[in-house]
């Protein structure tokens, strides 16, 4: 639906002593699934905010404009606790008929949850709602900011399937940032490795494994192992960052 071109020369937060992002250039074809992998604190969230148009104060250009429909899934589900699931979905897409909401919820494995309050749902269930919310606007560009972090492996795997099912209908150009290489290999067609801050691309790796994939598939484990042994110096910081899940 929409090609993504990113050409950032530098990004420095107001008052900061050093750049958060360095020279960062990449493109994604329409419908591509791109993962950006880097150590915690590499400025990955900053990059997503720039692409989403939330942060105009940077040096460079990105192709997504104010007219691009952007779906954004955050690290935490970020549902409004005082609205039920249906009203949370209607926040981004008003006038959504009940039938579509019910169909969407059934698709993400939450049939009949329309009138539940978010706090009554488990973390994994809230993330399903957050994923559905991002897809209800029929996004041309989907930005995922470590949305599966701090979930146990089976829950994460089931959410990968939900994401794949939702993507099949809309096929948005998708950008996932994560510090979890397994997750990137399980989901993306292409993985870009970025250095620690100021972030720049240090490796562009195409993933040519059959789908659907999950975290602990043999193929994923093998690709993970190969990458780590072929580029120990580039990915060293990543290995150290991998095991510790971020607090939510």
């Amino acid at each position: 639906m929409s090609r993504l071109d990113v050409a950032i020369r530098a990004k420095r937060h107001a008052g900061a002593a050093a750049d958060t992002l360095g020279e960062l250039q990449f493109s994604a074809e329409s419908g591509d699934f791109l993962a950006i992998v880097g150590p915690s604190g590499a400025g990955k969230t900053t990059l997503l905010k720039i692409i989403a148009g939330l942060d105009p104060a940077f040096d460079g250009a990105v192709s997504a404009g104010r007219d691009t429909r952007v779906g954004f899934v955050f690290q935490e589900p970020r549902l409004l606790p005082w609205l039920n699931v249906a009203d949370n979905l209607r926040l981004v897409q008003p006038d959504l008929p009940d039938a579509l909401i019910d169909a969407g919820l059934a698709k993400v494995g939450l049939p009949g949850a329309a009138h539940q309050l978010p706090l009554r749902l488990s973390g994994g269930m809230q993330r399903r709602v957050a994923l559905l919310r991002a897809f209800l606007i029929k996004p041309e560009l989907l930005l995922l900011d470590e949305p599966f972090i701090s979930l146990d492996a089976p829950t994460a795997d089931s959410l990968y399937d939900v994401l794949a099912a939702l993507r099949a209908d809309v096929m948005p150009t998708t950008l996932l940032v994560t510090h979890d290489l397994r997750e990137a290999l399980a989901l993306a067609d292409r993985v870009l490795f970025v250095s620690k801050s100021p972030a720049r691309v240090i490796l562009d790796h195409r993933v040519a494994l059959p789908k659907p994939r999950h975290r602990d598939d043999d193929a994923v484990s093998q690709a993970h192992h190969e990458l780590m042994s072929r580029h120990p110096e580039l990915l060293g910081g990543l290995a150290a960052a991998c095991p510790k899940p971020e607090a939510v």
Binding site: A52, L54, V70, F72, F74, E76, R78, L80, P81, W82, L83, D87, L91, V92, P94, L117, L119, R133, I137
Partner: protein, 257 residues
Amino acid sequence: MPVAKSAMPGSVPDAVIRSASLLALLLIWQLVALRVDDPLLPSPTAVLASLFHHLTAGELLHHLGVTLLRVAASFVIAMVVGVAVGVWMGRSKLANNLFDSLLVLMLNLPALVAAILCFIWIGLNETAAVIAVAINKIPTVITNIREGARALDQQLLQVGEVYRVPRITVLRRIVLPQLYPYIMASARSGLALIWKIVLVIELLGRSDGIGFQLGSFFQFFDLTSILAYTAAFAAVVFVIEALLLRPLDRKLNGWRA
């Protein structure tokens, strides 16, 4: 024993506990009044009789109605202006810098000074009375709501920003629900404060209302009537609290349960 179970602390109805302290106060008052037997300390039963007299033969209902209207008008003005300015000052650094000193001044302006100035500048009329009361309340509402607006959850606001939710929807669905606890607190303390100030202003510059009546009774040292009016007044406050504020609180904060 069958009595033991209903006497467990957990099973006493809330309403009984809520009214226990009031009943105790009435009882002590009655006993002391009987003992001193002085017209300057009328007993609760005498006050009740006087209340009945003022209700049926006197003008209590008329004056109570007038005062209630003034309270309602001042309350609405103070809440609307206070919430609007409070949100603005909480969200905009410029607005906060502009108005902060003024706010401190207004917070510390004595109610009497505001009333006198309003009556002199606007005239001895209804508008002046209502504005004088509102001016006393607005700064405290602003201060409360500003705290709430500063504590808004940035992460939820960002959801509205990313999905380009219209401003009015952001206000209604994301901002106001986070401000409800602050608004309710302001409404509660506001109602109490406004009651008190309205009476002073009626005493000072109006020829009707409960404050005016209390002034007249004071001239005759008619303590029984003063307490009867106060009781009528207290009853209204309890009704508003029970029928309006508490149900509203439950409705707005139901999702927390």
